[in-house]
């Protein structure tokens, strides 16, 4: 039988009305007064009393994306729950974005360009092969020579992998890589059975992991449903509390919430911000993390396409026109974080000094535009895709208050990537990682990132600082330099942060966890470890 839920009105409210309100608020360019929330765990989720002693029941999660390949190297964060039910990663990430032990028990940096990992001794892959330093070496060697994929940038700087002894592996890089332990918590760090690699198993169609659950092909339906059964020989038996895990692909956000409310699912991932309130009204427990920060990236700072962008005062004016609190309300229903900067609240590199930067000062923005020679404003184009439509419209409305016209040009998702990288647009709304500063910098903002189509040369000094930060051992020392860089990004208006986007997960009240579930910022659903069912 399906579970009863809540009022008709509440349900009706969550669709179109939320969008109308969001756009109205964005058009008004809200000036403060919003309810700001930090990252938060799902209230009441942690419960140890009554947890089963042996794996019990079926945990049903709804996922927005289907798994297209079992090969971890071909998957992104969005596929993490599918992968990490079957696979183990070397590390996992905590809520602060810090790497924590998993298959690797500890790690250290004997040289600036070298990481050494100590490994567990009690791990066996599902195919019976042993996890050891040779297995890690085989995985990293494969990754270095594999065809280009989403994690190529992680492995490209690796120059040597050495199995020092069965439980120690050393990885040497061509440059200091401070974020490598964090990167090993992503699909890049998922360990594949060395036997499967040696036997040439087709990793697109067959998994070969050591995880807490084993994929059950007979019960799964490709592209629709993945079913896993508990691994009886798992090294971390305390983490495996459900007998079966069922991951159902439900692409529509409303349908994911409906599924949980109707009792057909236990967890809804990727909760769209307009649905967070109604999910809570329906007594779902909602957890929110911040994995990404939205930015209006000014790509044409040389002024080749839009001369105005060459003027620092113009870029400052744009930053002042963007009201971050209004953006948070319009785009994220108040569930984002309007703080300035790049490291998410709660992470080790959150820059407190940037949080209070002035925002939404239209009069000062107009003065700056006039001083720069653009009293009547100017015009530019940005690429627009479906999932960023509301955000782009909110920004366009805010810039319009200063006479600046931001035209939205509709493109497909892939065109958006290509066009932004190849210089079709002078600016673009681009999210960057709010978890790892080097991913944010090297992947998006630095002149050597893939997104420098206009050949800019204005970040050389900041590149040096980020490289220096990567060579330091202590977080406090790294933070000092990273803070300097993020403050400079804001001061020079290389990109204009508009706020941290919420990544929300809704839990049915029958779901509990013996400890905080493994859910890296940026992942849509928690990994099933430590979760159990009360009914």
């Amino acid at each position: 039988m399906y579970r009863t839920t809540k009022s008709l009105g509440g349900l009706l409210r969550r669709g179109g009305l939320a969008i109308v309100i969001a756009l109205t608020v964005s058009a008004c360019g809200g000036q403060g007064g919003s309810v700001v929330e930090g990252p938060r765990s799902a209230e009441g989720l942690i419960e140890t009393e009554g947890a089963p002693l042996t794996p019990t029941g079926t945990l049903r999660m709804t996922m927005a994306h289907p798994l297209t390949s079992w090969d971890p190297l071909m998957n992104t964060h969005q596929i993490s729950p599918h992968l990490f039910t079957e696979y183990d990663s070397l590390t996992v990430t905590d809520e602060k974005g810090e790497a924590q032990p998993w298959l690797a028990t500890e790690w250290a940096r004997p040289e600036m360009d070298t990481w050494e990992f100590k490994l567990r001794e009690d791990v066996t892959f599902h195919d019976g092969s042993t996890f050891d330093a040779d297995a890690v070496k085989a995985n990293l060697e494969r990754a270095r020579t594999a065809p280009a994929g989403p994690w190529s940038y992680v492995f490209a700087p690796i120059t040597e992998v050495t199995a020092v002894d069965p439980t120690t592996v050393r990885v040497t890089f061509s440059e200091a890589r401070a974020g490598f332990p964090y990167e090993m918590s992503t699909p890049a760090g998922a360990m594949v059975s060395p036997k499967a690699l040696a036997d040439g198993v087709d990793l697109n169609s067959q998994p070969a992991g050591s995880g807490g659950w084993i994929w059950d092909e007979s019960e799964s339906i490709e592209g629709t449903k993945l079913v896993y059964t508990a691994n009886p020989d798992y090294w971390n038996a305390d983490a495996v509390l459900v007998e079966k895990v069922e991951l159902n692909v439900v692409e529509d956000a409303n349908a994911r919430v409906n599924g949980v409310q109707a009792g057909q699912a236990d967890i809804a991932g990727f909760l769209a911000p307009p649905l967070i309130d109604s999910a809570e009204q329906a007594r779902m427990r909602v957890g929110i993390k911040y994995g990404l920060v939205d930015n209006l990236a000014i790509l044409d700072r040389n002024g080749e396409m839009v001369p105005a962008f060459k003027e620092p005062k113009v870029r400052e004016a744009l930053a002042l026109l963007l009201d971050r609190e209004g953006y948070n309300k319009a785009v994220y229903g108040g569930h984002g974080d309007p703080g300035n900067g790049f490291g998410a609240p709660g992470t080790w590199w959150y820059n407190e000094e940037l949080a209070d930067t002035v925002t939404g000062d239209v009069e000062r923005a107009k003065e700056l535009l006039a001083e720069a020679g653009y009293p009547a404003g100017f015009e530019f184009e940005v690429p627009n895709i479906g999932q960023r439509k509301t955000a782009n419209e909110a920004i366009a409305n805010m810039l319009a208050r200063g006479g600046v016209t931001m035209k939205l040009v509709t493109v497909t998702n892939t065109e958006w990537i290509q066009d932004t990288a190849r210089g079709r647009f002078p600016a673009a709304l681009r999210p960057t990682s709010a978890v790892d500063p080097w991913t944010m910098w090297d992947g998006n903002i630095s002149n050597h990132s893939p997104y420098n189509p206009f050949g800019l040369t204005d970040t050389a000094d900041l590149d040096e600082k980020m490289a220096e930060a990567a060579s330091l051992d202590e977080r406090a020392d790294q933070k000092k330099l990273v803070d300097e860089v993020t403050s400079e990004i804001v001061a020079r208006h290389l990109v204009i942060p508009t706020g941290f986007s919420p990544s929300a997960v809704g839990y049915n009240p029958n779901v509990a966890a013996t400890q905080e579930p493994i859910l890296s910022p940026g992942e849509p659903n928690p990994r099933p470890h430590y979760l159990w069912l009360k009914d």
């Binding site: 008709l8 439900v250 990537i417």
Partner: protein
């Protein structure tokens, strides 16, 4: 009649070729890059190019089309660029969902539309006829996705009687299959029911005004016998045409309904493959859709022949 079927089947071959060629070459106009999706946002243009070369996308479009055609003729529809899964497998998973939805929608449409049309025609001009007219207008005006959402709210969330999402295969459980199809079929079939009801009404009214009906009445035949034996069969031709058109509408309308009820049929496959530009999947969906439409029209022709001896003689 057999000759007609054979001619229809023969003309379907060049049509299929034409449509699949059009779909393929229109797809190549897309600026979407599978390589960019596979490698991800942080990729360099060189990495994207490397992946696209691996997929064969650096070769001329006509070469790729001829290659696909050769494979398709041998029954091999190729593999997805993204999952490497055989396209035929994906189609075989999605097809039963779409066919179930279409048949369910058609059942609802005919079960509601035909009786409503007859009822209305027999009371033409009376308040009950006008009421049916208002209801059919409402049925045609209501968007299927909105109706689907309302049905979910009422029958899954307020009164937990039916599943809100998902499709249960017929082979797994007949009763659960029917339960999973009930709301989507109603949402999908209501507009078609309204169209069928309107056509049935106008067609039957026209037939009831014919001379031979009046003659039959004057000879003392019962009204029930006249309607069931003479009028309905003669009024059926245009209704059958509308039903055939509605089947095509139901096939295309299932795209939206699949989304609302999370049923992964051909519509979902079509959208996913078009958004990501997965050419072999797009080709397969187009070909299968065209075949389904051609089968419907072939059945329509057979239906005409059964209803009208003049057509049979052609």
């Amino acid at each position: 009649m057999l000759r007609q079927v054979l001619i229809r089947t023969a003309t379907a071959i060049p049509l299929l070729l034409l449509v699949s060629a059009a779909a393929f070459f229109l797809g190549t106009l897309s600026r979407s890059s599978p390589g960019a999706i596979i490698v991800g946002q942080g990729a360099t243009p060189e990495q994207i190019q490397e992946v696209e070369q691996g997929l064969g996308l650096d070769r001329p479009a006509w070469t790729r089309f001829v290659e696909w055609l050769g494979m398709a003729v041998r029954g091999d529809l190729g593999s997805s660029f993204y999952s490497s899964a055989p396209v035929a497998d994906s189609i075989m998973q999605a097809l039963p969902v779409t066919l179930s939805l279409t048949v369910g929608g058609l059942f609802v449409a005919m079960a509601l539309g035909v009786p409503a049309g007859i009822f209305s025609a027999l009371r033409a001009g009376k308040p009950t006829d006008r009421t049916v007219g208002v209801l059919t207008s409402f049925g045609q005006a209501v968007p299927s996705f909105w109706l689907g959402m309302i049905l979910i709210i009422v029958f899954s969330l307020q009164f937990p009687l039916l599943p809100a999402i998902g499709y249960v295969p017929l082979t797994e459980s007949v009763s659960e299959w029917a339960m999973s199809l009930l709301m989507p079929s109603v949402a999908l079939g209501l507009a078609a029911a309204a169209s069928i009801a309107r056509q049935t009404r106008s067609s039957l009214i026209g037939v009831l005004q014919q001379e031979y009906i009046r003659t039959a009445l004057s000879k003392g035949l019962s009204k029930r016998r006249i309607i069931l034996k003479h009028a309905l069969k003669n009024a059926a031709s245009p209704v059958v045409t509308v039903i055939a058109f509605q089947v095509v509408h139901l096939l295309s309308g299932s795209v939206v309904i699949e989304r609302v009820f999370n049923m992964r049929g051909l519509g979902t496959l079509a959208i996913d493959s078009a958004v990501h530009y997965d050419p072999y999947v797009i080709q397969a969906v187009v070909v299968v859709s065209v075949v389904m439409v051609l089968v419907v029209y072939l059945l329509l022709d057979i239906g005409y022949a059964w209803l009208n001896p003049k057509v049979r003689a052609l």
